[in-house]
Amino acid sequence: MNCPNLIEIYAYLEQELPAEDRLRIEEHLEACPGCRRLLADRRFYLESLAGLPSLEPPPDFTDRVMSELPPLKSPARLWLGLAGGLYLLFSLLVAGLALGTRTALFPVCLKIFKGLFNLAADFSSLIIRLIQQAYGIIKGLRIFLGVVAGLLTDIFPAGGLGLAALVLAVPLSLVLFWLLLRPAKILSRS
């Protein structure tokens, strides 16, 4: 075979070549003193690079970094910040409009006020509707649980209600344990 190029020589030394190419080069090296010399030189050079000293930061560097840490940005903080920003914007708008009503811009400000009021009213009715729906779900759940309780009382005769509670408590406890232990499991995996 032809002599390998320098890229192949480095790839060979860094074990980046597939086994087939590696063997091919090894066979060639046995027959070619020039390539053996080149390989030995680049090996010495790469080993020298690996021997370069590392630069070390001073011992108190970690403390220096930790004392300068900014507040942690978490998604919850971001949402709170966004809500706070919106509230501030809204307050400024209302304050601006309130001041505007004392000037010649009174009709315009009044119109915007009306618009804002309508928007707030729509938003409030939406929230009330959502609450009503949630209440409906809770009511439905209550009725369902009542039916289940009735059935259980029929299945487990007088005095067996304790046993029914026990039957229900076991799966509930298991679910609860699973929820509690889940983060610990993630941590212990590493």
């Binding site: 320098l6 030995a40 050079y45 020298s48 560097f61 300068e68 840490l69 942690l72």
Partner: protein, 187 residues
Amino acid sequence: MAAEEDRTLVRRSLRGERQAFEMLVRKYQQPVFNYFGRMVQERELSLDLTQEVFLRAYAALHTYQEKFQFSTWLFRIASNLLIDHWRKKKLPLVSIDPNPEEEEQQLRQLPDQEPAVSESYERKELLKKIEQAIAQLPESLRELFVLRHMNDFSYEEIATIKHLPLGTVKNRVFQAREWLRARLEEK
């Protein structure tokens, strides 16, 4: 596994455990400082840049995606910071892409009777000479060289840090090595 350990430390840091982030700082302060030290060649500036990397990483920790290694994510911050630093200093950008045909030719040819480095230098003397030569490497070649030889990143990891194709990374590291080696021949 080290990568998984890092992910756990990030999760704990995000839950507000400063001690977990401190462990990440302790683990990576030396490689990051080594990177800046080789790149900017000034100790105090390297310390400032290293500190800035950790402060930026902490502030942006919620954006870290676990599909990446923490080390490559951290070094991407470091690399971006370095680019900002160079821009502020208005260093001229050195073109590191030679004529492709010329490069192809160069890679195919084997050096004709070059003096062996091992014959010209003692190891200690060679290390000193290499250190001096690294400081003269063009910045973009130097960065990939440092990531490979000082920080021991794989070619794939460097490609992730620098958003470069794998082939480009391998080529540039090769160019850097041979550029440095050529300087060693100049006694």
